[in-house]
Symmetry: C2
Subunit: 206 residues, 2 copies
């Protein structure tokens, strides 16, 4: 693309570094900012700068938090002995939105992915193992996405903690509530039959 | 959404002000910035700030430009008597990419759209009329999108310059080169038959 302004070109190039945003979309966004009051651009720039510079991670669960210990880890009403292993803050938000979980989290910060150059030491696995070694955890719930990377990460952690006497579980995979069986994929439907649960249990949440 | 960090929430809120970017996409973008080196966020923030603060508009055609007069208006090789009326810089870039046009542009900065509160005085129509009054223009090419707003804007300008002795044209609407007739919409196909051109003319660009 041939821009008539270096400033514009620079802004478009930086904006198009974001994932899923190509040059055309970036240009649309930048031209939108130009049409809006200058204050909006100022606010956006300041917000992302401050976020990047001042952001904090909870010293216990590694979730994003403005305080040294996040609200969940600091809460007296949550069971610290149950820990749910998730990839990032979006998964914490999703599980929190269900109001069904009263334990702690452990945010890995990603999944083991050799293709992207992410190994176990780029994640917060060591600090999880340490918590387990200190006997702080009774149950570990794996809640990573069921991709190859997610499964690899689950298995890596599982192998590391084999010697310890803790319960390891994984969230149930199955047909979504409200979905028609005929449209479900075979793997999911297959798993939901193999891992069927006593009918009484299904009445608990309904 | 329930964020555990005010800084994060603020960044997501500002990011989601951009058109076509919802809260979820904004969160994805912001988390991406967090995973990248801090320099990337700094570069993005600086680029959009500088662009918004220092951006200049060509005093003649109102296109975005780093100099007082944009490259096109300053060029000796372009015909200043032919002026193509477009909405914004993206249209200039699209027409320039064809290498088929050697005249000047006039960037309106939008289209007349009462629904969005945009009237003739929010656009650069007055400066266009002034150029016409000064006898600087021989041909005016309307190249706005063929929406209701585009047609309204064309017609408004057309009415304003009725008294002047200039040629007004509009870019040809028709079936795209390479398209099958059977899949073309009726309006376009209809127009392309009504506005048919001598066969010899069609050989010029092929």
């Amino acid at each position: 693309m041939d821009f008539s302004s270096k400033l514009l070109e620079n802004a478009v190039n930086e904006m198009s570094q974001l994932p899923g945003i190509g040059k055309r979309t970036a240009l649309r966004l930048v031209l939108h900012l130009l049409k809006q009051p200058a204050q909006q651009t100022e606010n956006l720039a300041t917000a992302i700068q401050q976020m990047r510079e001042l952001v904090n991670f909870c010293s216990n669960c590694h979730n994003i938090s403005d305080t040294a210990l996040c609200e969940i880890c600091a809460s007296q009403n949550r069971n610290a002995k149950i820990v749910c292993v998730v990839e990032d803050i979006r998964d914490v938000m999703a599980i929190e939105a269900t109001s069904q979980y009263r334990g702690h989290y452990h945010v890995l910060g990603g999944k083991i992915s050799p293709m992207d150059g992410i190994g176990p030491h780029d994640l917060t696995i060591n600090s999880l193992i340490q918590k387990i070694e200190e006997g702080k955890i009774e149950e570990l719930i794996f809640a990573l996405s069921s991709t190859m990377e997610g499964d690899t990460t689950n298995f890596y952690i599982f192998k590391q903690i084999e010697g310890f006497n803790i319960i390891t579980t994984t969230i149930a995979r199955g047909i979504s509530v409200g979905d028609e069986l005929e449209y479900a994929d075979e793997v999911t439907l297959g798993r939901s039959i193999v891992n069927r649960i006593p009918f009484e249990n299904s009445l608990k949440n309904s």
